[in-house]
Symmetry: C2
Subunit: 256 residues, 2 copies
DNA sequence: TTTGTCGGATTGTCGGACAATCTAACCGCC
DNA sequence: GGCGGTTAGATTGTCCGACAATCCGACAAA
């Protein structure tokens, strides 16, 4: 990228720099988990046992364990013993959201991406939603309609609605791709609900049209309402004084 | 779960558990970074300084620092001193990819998501690509055409091509959402290139059509070729003996 | 069956230590 | 004066040993 390799002069040495022991410990355990030798739900043994296996000091083991713990591959139960675990996706979602905030992406980028991801999710939901999932969506809408005045609650139920749509899509790749931008969009939803009087009503109506379209397996109608719904959000955002071309603000995100 | 709460006796207490000191250290520093009190590029001070500020032992500080280091908010320079840093996105991308593998998503989920994300990226690239970015894309295609026989190199240049498209989209949210699935799709590209003789040629042709469409700002043509390109990949995958409805295999991913 | 008590095991935290390594200042030389 | 080599100091990576807090399991008591 930076310079054109004219004659490829040096064989570009492979960056020898023996990584410190604590990192090698983490990588070794991680390799075993990724390769399947260690499966989720199995105990990882005590720190003392790891000390013996790796032949390093307990402090070193502990520093290594921290890395695995932080990436979600290892969990401590109530007694703080170590267990192998499938990484929960929530942590990744907040990490990605946090990175987007720190990199100061604009609301427009967020909006464009959220729209594309929601349309894709809707498509998948139209195709794959089960009757039970559709029922859950309708229960959510009824609950929302019953508390139209409570902005906090409506925002919470809206987030839940989109999570249910994600489930109905039966596509975890799409879900994981969609959730970070969704989280950021949602974090301004309550603000908009407070500032724009008719927002909650329009939200419930859009949700109803969504679910109707999903039940009828009507892709185009579902897409149309997804578009309108997000456009509503954008207009509400602008009416609340937001500028689409400015970086999104630093929002209080639970640290993860 | 174990017993039915007949009369809901206790008001379900919120799980009090003072987090250990090392985690509180990490969270305190993280809060300062997220809130902007600590900015990227600033030094974080030596371990000894942190020991003094937090009033805890160096081992505790070190365990806390590991967490920040692992989430990419803190970096060590050549002399291993600590600096605040914007988290690089590569780490997040590999984390998400790894999680998808561990959760055993199917190739079909991957394919559907990758298609939707690529189409959205293409749309944005058609709208926002600069002449310089289009030139870079064409140089990449020429380089690929010149080495059609070398599967490894073609796979690498293909990955680079898609990264360039991502850049041309000028949408970092979309890019970060797209890259994990792209990485997983790409990891099987070399396999396909080896097994399907005409794959490399079709790849170059599709890339050329892409870039042509982008230069003409012809969204529909770009979408068409993006679709065809990915369908090619899917057919190649099936012809190489893959089953779309099986979980993607555990692939060697650089640990991050 | 439920509750109180006890011993053993394990973790979280501490204090101190030392070798390796990097930085920065210093020194001699052209 | 600028440059390369040398040396002292600072900092990290790792180790060792220690102890209180907590958790688990077993056992005794009610």
């Amino acid at each position: 990228m930076t310079t054109q390799a004219v004659s490829k002069p040096a064989p570009t040495f492979p960056r020898l720099a023996a990584s410190p022991a604590y990192r090698r410990v983490a990588e070794a355990v991680e390799r075993d988990i990724l390769s399947g030798r260690l499966k989720a739900g199995e105990p990882l043994g005590t720190e003392a046992a790891l000390v013996e296996q790796f032949g390093v000091n307990r402090s070193t083991i502990r520093e290594g364990i921290r890395l695995l713990e932080h990436s979600g591959l290892v969990r401590r139960d109530s007694s703080r013993r170590l267990w192998v675990q499938l990484p929960r996706t929530e942590r990744l979602v907040t990490s990605v959201s946090r990175a987007l905030v720190l990199h100061e992406v604009t609301f427009r980028e967020l909006y464009d991406a959220a729209l594309a991801l929601q349309l894709a999710t809707i498509d998948a939901a139209v195709e794959h939603a089960t009757p039970g999932e559709i029922d859950a969506l309708e229960r959510n809408i009824d609950a929302t309609a019953a508390r139209l005045g409570d902005a906090t609650e409506v925002a919470r139920l809206d987030a839940e609605f989109h999570a249910l749509i994600g489930l109905a899509s039966h596509n975890r790749v799409l879900q994981l791709a969609r959730e970070p931008s969704e989280l950021l969009v949602m974090s301004s939803a309550e603000l908009i609900l407070r500032n724009v009087a008719e927002a909650a009503g329009r939200l419930v109506h859009a949700h109803r049209m969504y679910v109707d379209a999903i039940r009828r397996r009507d892709r185009d109608a579902a897409r149309l309402w997804a578009r309108r719904h997000l456009e509503d959000w954008r207009r509400g955002f602008e009416r609340a004084g937001g500028d689409l071309d400015r970086p999104i603000d630093r929002i209080i995100l639970e640290s993860g």
